[in-house]
Symmetry: C2
Subunit: 151 residues, 2 copies
DNA sequence: CTTATTTTGCAACTATGTTGCTTTTTTAAT
DNA sequence: ATTAAAAAAGCAACATAGTTGCAAAATAAG
């Protein structure tokens, strides 16, 4: 499925639509941060966002915006081995803090981009007697499609 | 397999033996921190260790000791959703920074203990074309054996 | 346009982690 | 046991990450 690159106006409309749908006030900061997620493929860390919009918006605003988006189910967090939380857009099915993110995440060791592998489903696991699991996170590390060495 | 609770002397000998085997100088701090891992089941965060031995040893020493242990393959790190690295003892097969920790980790949402489920093996995954994975981390969340509600 | 509500910025603070350098401890050789 | 070399620990200073309270500004609703 090849998707045409969206125009700036389309992305802006999409950002506004997401905010409206989630009953959030439409503000410059929220739209700007949503743009970042809509414009590119990988996940973003707080630091990435701060580097890009930090002069325009306060650190605290970025933290609060990300938390709001997580609460609303607009984005989800991805735990990584290097102990820095990444955030990525949720698919439409997510709602109100209750995410249905049963997909695997992939961190490229070359370009350091974190991908949502939406088609790789979190496998079912058999736990020892007495352990009841409510959620499983899978994070794979390796080399991504773009960084794969050419033969 | 029921294991008898070890005496303090036995734990101390074990700590010394681990340090010797890994060509590490035997120091009070390293033995003390190893004791903490040997004495109890779950994983430890830097903060946990600092609370227990922080008055006796400097924060920096704890950081450096943990890093040394990771480098030597004595302990391994466990990524968690709350963005705080936990450390747990490696099984004997691990060596020199090259861990063979293909087991699943379990974080209890009640007691917040992190367990190494040594018998639950990391499942094999089929990745999309172009992605090559070198390592997969699985962290499950739920209620542990001890916190399971009694019927 | 006006008012109530929400969001933002700012300051201050806590927590976490790192680095350079000096002193102390440990190890190994005499 | 002494001693010299090597390693570890402590200290200070710094960097990054994240939180909270409150006042000012922006947004939404009427
Ligand atoms: Mn994802
Ligand atoms: Mn483990
Ligand atoms: Zn890559
Ligand atoms: Zn528990």
């Amino acid at each position: 499925m090849i998707m045409a690159k969206q125009t700036v106006v389309q992305i802006d409309n999409q950002a506004t639509e997401i905010l409206t749908r989630n009953n959030l006030s439409i503000t410059g900061g929220r739209k700007r941060i949503l743009h970042l997620f809509l414009e590119q493929a990988g996940a973003l860390a707080h630091g990435d966002i701060e580097k890009k919009v930090g002069e325009k918006f306060d650190r605290v605003t970025i933290y609060r915006t990300l938390q709001t988006f997580v609460d609303k189910g607009i984005i989800h967090t991805i735990p990584t081995a290097d102990n820095s939380i990444r955030y990525a857009l949720c698919k439409d099915e997510c709602s109100g803090g209750h995410h249905h993110d049963h997909h695997v995440h992939f961190v490229c060791t070359v370009c350091h981009i974190t991908y949502c592998l939406d088609d790789v489903v979190t496998p079912a696991l058999k736990f020892p007697k007495g352990y009841t699991s409510s959620h499983v996170e899978v994070v794979a590390e390796g080399v991504c499609r773009n960084c794969k060495p050419q033969h």
